[in-house]
Symmetry: C3
Subunit: 260 residues, 3 copies
Amino acid sequence: MKEAIITEVRKQQPLIHHLTNQVVMNFSANGLLSFGASPVMAKAEEEAAEMAAHADGLLINIGTLTASDLKAMIFAGRTANQKGIPVVLDPVGVAATSFRRNAVEQLLAEVQPTAIKGNAGEMAHLVGLPWETKGVDSIGGDAEHIAAQVARTYETTAIVTGAKDIICTGNRNSENNTGHPLLAKITGAGCLLGSILTACLTTSHPIQQQALAATEFYGTAAEYAAEISGTDRPGTFMPLFIDALHKHPADFHIRRNTNE
Amino acid sequence: MKEAIITEVRKQQPLIHHLTNQVVMNFSANGLLSFGASPVMAKAEEEAAEMAAHADGLLINIGTLTASDLKAMIFAGRTANQKGIPVVLDPVGVAATSFRRNAVEQLLAEVQPTAIKGNAGEMAHLVGLPWETKGVDSIGGDAEHIAAQVARTYETTAIVTGAKDIICTGNRNSENNTGHPLLAKITGAGCLLGSILTACLTTSHPIQQQALAATEFYGTAAEYAAEISGTDRPGTFMPLFIDALHKHPADFHIRRNTNE
Amino acid sequence: MKEAIITEVRKQQPLIHHLTNQVVMNFSANGLLSFGASPVMAKAEEEAAEMAAHADGLLINIGTLTASDLKAMIFAGRTANQKGIPVVLDPVGVAATSFRRNAVEQLLAEVQPTAIKGNAGEMAHLVGLPWETKGVDSIGGDAEHIAAQVARTYETTAIVTGAKDIICTGNRNSENNTGHPLLAKITGAGCLLGSILTACLTTSHPIQQQALAATEFYGTAAEYAAEISGTDRPGTFMPLFIDALHKHPADFHIRRNTNE
């Protein structure tokens, strides 16, 4: 089913409206294009809703948020909800400042996200759970509890990203173990996953499968690119990762079978 | 004459002021630098006109437009017109929202563009012609009519980009058949062509030749880069394309002669 | 001592808050991540100060400055000064427009920079010295005088970048001769040096050594990358340069010894 989801994205080429941060716009657009969907990024409050009305999915990412961006996000989010297209919220750095905390509170009051995706610290903040980074090993157990709380509180699908990604639809949990540490050495890896996820949510499959397809494909593409670049070359990794997002999932399996 | 235009750009290193969209700023700056001109991108309404007064050419691109950007574009455009330096307008996505439609209407009322460059849908919108994407084959004929209408209506040079680029100065038509499908798999390929075009318009040659030199060189550089990257690696293609923009046109011919 | 500075950055992974220009955000973030520090770029005036309170260093770069950006810079700069973390000012293009001239004047009245870094023209402007580009050879002598004047006037460390970088702490001068002409063929090379410099200023070493470590490492990384890419491929150079920033300084020496 996961390959069917990727294939459907590439056939439909859904238009994904991005209200995202300025650091990653170019990388997100190129990554999503390579994956097979179409990005658009119209951030003016005057047109964000109208562009959302043309789109097949909406990504809201609050990195480099401004007051004007927030208005655009709410306008576009409302339109997306009315139209019934998927909305993904990525609450980047939400715990860092009161401006972001208030913005996300307002967003969640005005817009119903289809999925919320963030790292454990961001997601824990959304449900008032304490969070401390204690090293990779301690994340596993906590992340499942955090995901369940976010899913229940916001009646949404929660995706807690990390060394292991936890996906919780409320009823079911699943996890993704693909990925590569180089993703933490480049900027915008989490943000681009939000774009890929939104594209997968436009397909005609159960959301648990859609979220799993997005995270598994993304992580496997990173593993594939890292195998070519080597683990100590983040600059070389980036274009190879964009290349990998263009591939058919079967290309990764073939490589794995050959090498292992 | 086309090589003379490229050579003149590289000798003069014209300063091209960009009021362009946030998605492509970095790619446009690097592409133009590699080509041999100098980019500057001062978007505050407080300084856009003063920066235009230092520049040799001005590019106005309305992707990710805001109300403040529009003011800056008008201020800079007026200064450019007064100074007599070339102004290129790229009406990205003009048909998509009323905000963009109104913005372009206002721009065209206040600023006289030396050239307008866009895809067939954008250019058709500017002259009220219907446009539907019906597959690549049907674009040819329509695009020539659209180009002629835009050139006549706005007393400008019209460049309709596509599988075939149509250049219409009002008096004459010409076309460019270079290019590569990978340009549609990366973000900002059309936007960077606007930068290269503006640089070529600063030279001392007829505009028909300038526009032809820009589009032909650009498309040939893409063909050259795609031959090295392969057609299914958009991430790898990007740096190779930036490399190719640094080359002398004769390097492409040599390669072609060798391989064919 | 220089290697100890690089090693300390990588161990501490300082959080460097950037109020920087939109053209280079992605490149600066990726370059700093590869080097071993952590970038954050929160530019809203509502949160810039609060983010600075979490940070270990602050970079202020005025390219693509807006009135709102300027407020954010002043708020964040005051917080950084109160907290006692290093502040680096990069007055990009300060001489070009009255908006930038006034902005830098206001910044310098409100915020005490630990270091100011710019090319000879920008730095000369800050102390009212005439400056004309007269070719590379004439820069040397003037740059030392300019650096001394900036250091004395603003009670700061002045770094005048060029074919030779001059570092003046007020008491002492030193110079860096590493670097590569390809850095002038990519956008944001000076801006990213500002990020690397800010990261080095967070370490526990004399500032003269910190600034020397930053400029020497940066220039040597560029030489290393250019040796691999070749000098006529700016697109290929960029990812290789990001790779090089990830390396241990000793890797460069080994390569040099092997090749020379």
